[in-house]
């Protein structure tokens, strides 16, 4: 939607997103301008002292030079403070503004279903709140200062030149403009060369990554030789590409020196040829030599800044892409609270299709009375997990309605919905902290005793006590210190903490040890007893123990009823059951 957005438009958008960004910018620019006076003052002082105090009379006027010098020092101290203040103000502003933007984007991300629907995009989404923003910040801090100081230095230097001798000023400005344009062309050539370097860098990173990640495989096949050879050639290719590109870069960079030198020579030549009759003084011409250098350097900086602006613009465009993605699962304005009684679920004509096409669920209607224990079965891809997510509003349906306690879910306040309706996904995610903190995530503020009690209620005291540090055991990144089954135990206990009235649970499919299996089943039984529950069953024994079974097939609800009756009916469920019985008796 913003593919065509220009860098300028993207950066302008930055100012609308963070209104604080423009605050005090004019003052900062003014201070930067004042600060630049530090550099430009030197040629002026040189001219004045040489022309008036040294060459002005028969004798050198030392006292006047001292007065002038004193004034210059005073001006420089002021300028120096102004410059420091400008730089600091800009750094502070960009740090604060970008932190604000980062938080804003992050908050928006959490309101998008893409975050939990499209797993493969997660890495890119993390980049939106980290590296993309860093790039914008780099630009604002260094680029912003570069522009402010560069522009004011150019303006002041040109003004000083015009005062001294307009003909020379025109010569210098013309020269610098041509040089600036040439730099822009060079930059483009260099940009293309940099693209090639980036490709080589990506290749060598991938070779390095492979040799490390695939190291056990390399060892198992004794392929150290070819692997090392591959790394070496990728790394060497990167080196060659970099050396070529940077050499080109240094040739371009050094052209500034040739140019500045040529311009200086031209200024001396033309200045002398203009002669004293034109009003040009010796001091004035010497001042010009300084001013030329003061002009060439910011032009170079400004051209480089343009380059970082492109990168920042690219980052900004991606960030805007996130901010412009409409919130698809919005907390309703003036949403209702769920009624304070056991909850029933009514689903009418529910269908779900991904925007990219592919109908997952079609015309499902079912009602579940309060306190019922319902199992959902079906093959992979039958739509049973999508059904569960629609019920708890982790997705919104394409058509149809889900009502909980008589209220359409999209009209229920999130606060009420998440407090009363529990959802335990197949792979319960654990945060990299202690078991206790992970449980507390389900109910902030609960004490350690409350957490131990919860484990006891679910019959898990023995399990949790055998962990190295009991409930204070660290679970590692993504819960890696625990097995899949153990992670599920923590997720179940976390769901138990909020004592939901409706529980939707996606049974784990991964194999667990027989002993853990017993704990899991007991915990699930206790968790769902006494409340309305919908369990996505991966084991028929779960279905057998439920009040009612919903059988999904190719996105449709094809059978429903008690296990007994369904087995007798001789349909889809019956044949599933038959396979099961046959299987256990091998």
């Amino acid at each position: 939607m913003n593919g065509e957005m220009t860098t300028r438009a993207a950066l302008r958008r930055l100012f609308t997103e963070i209104p604080g960004l423009g605050r005090g910018l004019l003052l900062t620019a003014g201070l930067a301008m004042l600060g630049t006076g530090l550099q430009v003052a030197i040629p002026v002082v040189v001219q004045l002292i040489i022309d008036i105090d040294i060459l002005g009379g028969d004798k050198v006027d030392v006292a006047s030079a001292v007065r002038r010098g004193g004034l210059a020092v005073l001006a420089m101290v002021v300028a120096s403070f102004a410059r420091r203040s400008a730089t600091f103000r800009l750094s502070r502003l960009s740090a604060a503004a970008l932190a604000e933007l980062r938080i804003k984007v992050f908050a928006h991300l959490h309101r998008l279903s893409a975050l939990h629907v499209q797993a493969e995009r997660r890495g890119a989404l993390v980049a939106r709140v980290t590296s993309d923003i860093y790039r914008i910040q780099d630009f604002m801090e260094w680029g912003g200062m570069g522009i402010m100081i560069g522009v004011s230095q150019v303006v002041l230097a040109v003004a000083a030149m015009l005062v001294y001798r307009w003909q020379l000023a025109v010569l210098v400005v013309l020269g610098v403009t041509i040089y600036g344009l040439a730099l822009l062309v060079f930059q483009r050539i260099l940009g293309r060369a940099h693209d090639r370097v980036r490709e080589r860098v990506a290749d060598s990173m991938s070779a390095l990554g492979e040799s490390i990640t695939g190291l056990p495989t390399v060892r198992a096949y004794g392929a150290e030789g070819p692997t090392l050879h591959r790394v070496r050639s990728a790394v060497d290719a990167q080196f060659r590409a970099e050396f070529k590109t940077y050499s080109l870069g240094s040739a371009l960079f050094s052209s500034a020196e040739v140019f500045a030198g040529g311009l200086t020579a031209a200024v001396v030549g033309v200045g002398i040829l203009l002669g004293p009759d034109s009003g040009l003084t010796a001091g004035g011409l010497i001042a010009f030599l300084f001013l030329v250098n003061l002009l060439v350097q910011p032009v170079q900086t400004l051209v480089e800044t343009l380059d970082t602006a492109q990168a920042a613009g690219a980052g900004m465009r991606k960030v805007i892409g996130v901010l412009d993605t409409p919130v698809d699962l919005a907390d309703p304005v003036d949403g209702a609270g769920l009624p304070d009684r056991p909850l029933d679920v009514a689903v009418r004509d529910l269908s779900f299709a991904y925007p990219t096409g592919g109908t997952v669920l079609q015309d499902v209607s079912v009602s579940i009375a309060p306190g019922r224990r319902v199992a959902v079965v079906g093959q992979t891809g039958s739509g049973k997990t999508t059904f569960a997510k629609l019920v708890v509003r982790l997705l919104d349906p394409s058509t149809g309605v889900v009502e909980i306690g008589g209220i359409p879910v999209d009209q229920v306040r999130f606060g009420s919905l998440r407090a009363r309706v529990g959802y335990v996904p197949q792979e319960g995610f654990l945060f990299d902290t202690s078991v206790a903190e992970n449980i507390r995530y389900g109910k902030p503020g609960v004490g350690d005793d409350g957490i131990r009690l919860a484990f006891a209620d679910l019959g898990l005291t023995e399990w949790v006590e055998q962990l190295p540090d009991g409930i204070h055991t660290q679970v590692g990144e993504g819960g890696s210190q625990l097995s899949a089954g153990e992670r599920q135990l923590v997720a179940l206990t976390r769901a138990w903490m909020s004592q939901p009235d409706l529980l939707v649970l996606d049974e784990a499919t991964s194999a667990v040890d027989p002993a853990l299996e017993v704990s899991l089943r007991r915990a699930i039984d206790r968790l769902i007893s006494g409340r309305t529950s919908i369990t996505i069953a991966h084991r028929l024994s779960t279905a057998e123990a439920s009040d009612e079974v919903l059988v999904f097939d190719h996105g449709r609800l094809v059978e429903r009823g008690h296990h007994r009756d369904l087995v007798a009916a001789g349909g889809v469920y019956s044949s599933m059951h038959h396979d099961w019985m046959a299987g256990t008796r091998t």
Binding site: A220, V268, L329
Partner: protein, 607 residues
């Protein structure tokens, strides 16, 4: 979630002393320079030329002032041939300076890039030789960071270092030149410039430690973003979005404060060092006026000094900049060195072959033991596998099955005891010789960024025919031919993605193409449909590949294909024999088999 607010401040207080930094930095640079002395010499030569050109250009400006500018513009003398000389001199000096820059940058880029490439290659070469048991204990992310960003950052100091050496010469040269013009002005210039450099170095010193803090904060911010985005479903299901935003805001604002604090310090030092050259210039002009008054020097000399001071300001910054870089490079190189110094390389023998044909036999003496530190994983393993046998290793999670077969392939070495292949100690085989005898296929398959064919023939010269035969045997040929480019389809990180079962079959083909005499399958077909798995194992037995097979099995159906079962529990062999014998005599085995059967049946039924 737990905050570690103290990390950044700890780093700040742990900052090494400046003298140590300089000494360590010199050692690091010295090490790199010794490896590439020529390019370093070239870079420094270029840098010295640049410095000399600056000094000469200032001298020429002074000379032009005295000989051309003042006589013509102030004295009203006619223009003579000296103007042409002046113009040509100025242009030539600019060219000299530019050539100096090109030489310096080329040398420095070469040296930095070469050093970086060498470091990376050396790291990978070293890692490839290390014990897998050591590798397993490292986080892959850390090792990647070392070979990627740390190896890069280690060399960053090499970029500005030659320039800084030139700048240092420039500093000395300038002070000497000014001193020769006029001793008093020489002292003023010396004090002004040296103060500038000292302020700059102090600023860099005070800021860089904080800069490490910023890196820590950035890491924190990414970690929270990563975790929160990975766990988005749970966050949403528990209605904790606001909490996550708060958590992110907290680290984000901490990063902001850190950046602001850096800016506060940095800009202060920066402003002072920035003002020093102009202030020195003013002092020189004022004092210079009085020196001209007493006839000690000319207006041109004054122009020389002022011009020199205006040109020298930027190069001098490089001296402080090197300090910035050296601290970062040292920290990064320390991490690189830590890996390079790990003295845990696998030691190989000289045997080039087991000296036998046909299927291989494998035996351990009864004292075979393996453990990490105090944690004993396997003890007193006594196994004797006959050539041509198919043996299933069975046991509950954590019983040591995988570890045992890992020892068989010598991916790890036992703590005590010996494993013999056809009667020869595994440790006597030469580096790649064992891979010719034994093929190991694990559960997690790593596919390289290469074609299907390249992934199968990985590391050996295999004909197309051999590759296809192996793929057929591994039940992979059919799906491979259906891929967009068949055997030429690119796989890996940037290629076509395959299902878990397909990946495992590619890995199996990769093992079979080597015609191993001992094939080890560590749950290598877990994602393959049981009926396909059975087909593979049956065909393997009938094939022309004379192989002994050891497989870690989780399925009743794969156990059924084994001639013999070894049952492990808690790192000990509790029973060996046929399936029926074990069911009858080992209760733990019988229980486990029942659990597998039920689980398989339920899974099958609920599909």
């Amino acid at each position: 979630m737990g905050g570690d607010e103290d990390v950044a401040s700890a780093i700040v207080s742990d900052a090494p002393r400046l003298t140590n930094l300089a000494a360590d930095g010199a050692r690091l640079i010295g090490r790199f320079v010794r490896a590439h002395p020529v390019s370093f010499a070239i870079a420094v030569f270029g840098s010295f030329n640049f410095a000399a050109a600056i000094v000469v250009s200032a001298l020429v400006v002074g000379r032009i002032t005295d000989d051309v500018i003042v006589p013509v513009l102030d004295g009203g003398e006619p223009i003579d041939g000296r103007l042409r000389g002046a113009v040509i001199a100025l242009a030539l000096i600019a060219l000299w300076k530019a050539i100096g820059i090109v030489i310096r940058r080329s040398g420095a880029t070469w040296m930095q890039g070469r050093t970086q490439a060498d470091l990376r290659t050396r790291l990978i070469e070293h890692l490839l030789g290390l014990e897998l048991s050591w590798i397993r204990r490292q986080s892959t992310g850390d090792l990647l960071a070392v070979s990627d960003s740390d190896a890069g950052q280690s060399t960053y100091v090499l970029g500005p270092f030659p320039f800084a050496s030139g700048a240092f010469m420039l500093l000395i040269g300038s002070i000497v030149i000014v001193f020769l013009i006029d001793p008093l002005l020489g002292v003023i210039t010396g004090v002004g410039l040296i103060t500038k450099v000292v302020v700059d170095i102090t600023g860099a010193w005070r800021t860089f430690a904080r800069f490490e803090g910023v890196q820590v904060r950035r890491g924190e911010t990414s970690a929270v973003a990563h975790e929160s985005i990975d766990g988005a479903l749970t966050v949403k299901a528990l209605g904790r979005e606001d909490h996550e935003v708060e958590r992110f805001a907290e680290v984000s604002l901490r990063l902001r404060d850190e950046l602001i604090e850096i800016a506060r310090r940095f800009t202060l030092y920066d402003a002072v060092q920035d003002a020093l050259p102009p202030l020195t210039t003013v002092a020189v002009l004022v004092v210079g006026a009085s020196r001209i008054d007493v006839g000690a020097m000319s207006a041109g000399d004054l122009a020389t000094i002022a011009y020199l001071l205006s040109l020298i300001a930027f190069p001098l910054r490089l001296i402080g900049f090197v300090l910035w870089e050296v601290s970062g490079s040292l920290a990064a190189y320390r991490r690189v060195e830590q890996v390079l110094q790990v003295d845990d390389s696998v030691r190989y023998g000289a045997l080039a072959t087991a000296g036998a044909a046909g299927a291989a036999g494998l035996a351990s003496d009864g004292s075979l033991t393996f453990g990490f530190d105090d944690d004993v994983v396997l003890s007193d393993i006594d196994i004797d596998i006959e050539p041509g046998e198919t043996v299933a290793i069975v046991g509950p999670t954590g019983s040591g099955k995988s570890t045992l077969v890992t020892l068989f392939a010598r991916l790890w070495d036992p703590t005590a005891g010996t494993i013999r292949l056809d009667g020869r100690d595994l440790r006597d085989f030469a580096r790649s010789a064992l891979a010719g005898e034994v093929a190991f296929v694990g559960q997690d398959v790593f596919l390289f960024d290469d074609t299907v064919r390249g992934n199968i023939s990985f590391g050996v010269d295999a004909s197309d025919h051999d590759v296809i035969e192996a793929a057929k045997l591994a039940a992979a040929h059919d799906f491979i031919t259906e891929l967009p480019d068949g055997y030429a389809t690119r796989l890996g990180e940037r290629g076509t993605s395959l299902s878990g079962g397909q990946r495992q079959r590619i890995a199996l083909a990769r093992a079979l193409v080597r015609r191993p005499r001992l094939l080890i399958l560590d749950d290598a077909t877990s994602a393959v449909d049981p009926s396909i798995e059975t087909g593979i194992l049956v065909r393997l037995k009938e094939s022309a590949i004379p192989s002994t097979v050891v497989l870690v099995a989780y399925r009743r159906s794969s156990i059924a294909l084994a001639d013999r079962v070894v049952y492990l529990e808690d790192g000990k062999v509790l029973g060996q024999g046929t399936h029926d014998e074990l069911v009858a005599s080992v209760p733990g085995y019988a229980r486990l088999i029942r659990a597998y059967e039920e689980d398989a049946a339920e899974r099958e039924a609920a599909r």
